[in-house]
Symmetry: C2
Subunit: 279 residues, 2 copies
DNA sequence: TTGACAAATGACCGATTAGTCATTAGTATA
DNA sequence: TATACTAATGACTAATCGGTCATTTGTCAA
């Protein structure tokens, strides 16, 4: 659906300029060259629009990192360098959305929004930790969680440079600089603050499983969007399984693994695992 | 004026919970146990309230750092440790306001708000750079601006721990951990990314001098608030100098230096220097 | 008790918002 | 061409907002 993408693009520009609250649906529709009614044909509400933006951007970042770490075939320093470069390029390309995040950070809109951001944050943590393990091995077991926070801190602070200055920056130099810093901290740091226990404490108490209704709604939304045929088939099958309540866990598990491959389905895969109590 | 403080406290709690936009004046007055009209006796607008909050807390943080770096009498590692500890305690004590900042970050409200935040940010940069000079001397001239960004990054990332977890954290351990990290980066880092030139580019083009009207308004506000007698006298004298247009620069310079001692007057001292074109 | 003044109130205003829905325009089929 | 259907419209609503101001309340000295 091309209309949806048009709205998302134009809305993103406005959100980056003015913030979410300060941007009216009217402005979005004017900039998109459509009527107000047409907006509500694509999105049920203004909130649904920002959810879509977050899903789109975050799932892309997470799957980019995942791909690098799991299947990139890079080694040690090269991996770290490519990691930073990938993240930075992502920020550069989507600096508009990054601006929205900076501005709106956990803006108390909705419990689902908070859960989503928390979920993607955990995915990123998982991927970075995996990378740290690959690069440094067991030697930094005591400080790896602290290093995780430093890496995220580097990303956070330097990404501000993109957002507040629109200057063209030398990403390769920046990535090299961050690689050096990360290595220094990894190899010589002896006083960790963030421990495994603290990270576990920070993982908010899990919400209960989603209702059947919300799950089906999400799946239907995805079926309308997803391109890949076999993913769409798996989604249909999953919907049937939910409605039939058969609980064929092996089949469901396989289907979830299939849809999980598609970045767009990341969040719904998470909800499905919650719903069916998989691992 | 005690009413003003009551409003500021209650508003701060609400802003931290819901954000600035999402909090109505109605809610603030209800929580404060006053009427809507009474609110507008203390503040001319909702914007003026958030300006007051920012001025109040940012000037406190800046003067705390300034005091440490300029007159604390600490040396090297001890100075760095006290610096982190002071900042962290400030965040802990005012975690509500820190939350508001995280949420509202440059929320496009008003040109004056942006200028204020930028001004305080520059004050903090100045103080940190002075500290870096004291501790490391000329040896890190090439990487000091990069180190500045790392220090600010550490503060940023770990302060999130306060804000999103309400856990009691071991600030002394955290400060020690950050001292070690800072020293590592200062002593071994060789690939800087942030240079003096880049920092200068990031300093937004300065606004023109304030009008006589706005200046007098700010001074009057401060006269009503400031406790210290001699500061109040200096403010009165400054107001007279402005109205008389005498331009006795030496006298004015001295008066500005006097009021600058008071943390509350930091911003107006900045405006005065702009107005009278001092240094 | 009275009168004068300041402090405080809350009903009210115009502006703006997200969201709705009766209506129209456009398009494909018979 | 007539019919049936979807896509698209924008005037409209109900709610909420920041801010105002005629009115009431409280507090003094006389």
């Amino acid at each position: 659906m091309v209309k949806k993408q048009l709205i998302m693009e134009k809305a993103l520009e406005l959100f980056a300029e003015q913030g979410f609250d300060a941007t009216s649906v009217q402005q979005i529709t004017e900039k998109s060259g459509i009527s107000k009614g047409a907006f509500y044909l694509s999105f049920k509400s203004k909130d649904e629009l920002i959810f879509a933006l977050i899903d789109h951007f975050m799932s892309e970042i997470v799957s980019n990192i995942d791909y690098l770490v799991s299947g990139g075939g890079y080694q040690k320093d090269e991996l770290l360098y490519q990691f930073y470069l990938t993240i930075l390029k992502n920020f550069e390309e989507h600096s508009n959305l990054a601006t929205v995040f900076m501005k709106e950070q956990t803006h108390t809109l909705n419990m689902e929004l908070i859960m989503k951001l928390h979920f993607y944050d955990k995915q990123i943590n998982r991927a970075i930790l995996k990378m740290i393990d690959q690069i440094y091995g067991d030697s930094i077991a005591a400080t790896k969680f602290d290093l995780l926070y430093c890496v995220k801190g580097f990303m956070k602070m330097y990404s501000e440079l993109f957002i507040f200055s629109k200057l063209p920056l030398d990403l390769k130099l920046l990535a090299s600089s961050l690689v050096e810093k990360t290595n220094l901290l990894a190899k010589h740091s002896t006083v960790p603050f963030v421990t495994k226990e603290l990270v576990n404490l920070l993982d908010l108490p899990a919400e209960g499983p989603p209702t059947q209704e919300t799950l089906v709604k999400h799946i239907n939304d995805l079926i309308a969007e997803v391109q890949e045929g076999f993913v769409k088939d798996a989604l249909h099958e999953l919907k049937e399984q939910i409605n039939k309540q058969t609980l064929d866990i092996l089949l469901i598990n396989g289907l979830v693994e299939i849809v999980r491959q598609d970045a767009q389905c990341m969040w719904v895969a998470f909800l499905l695992r919650r719903y069916f109590k998989i691992s």
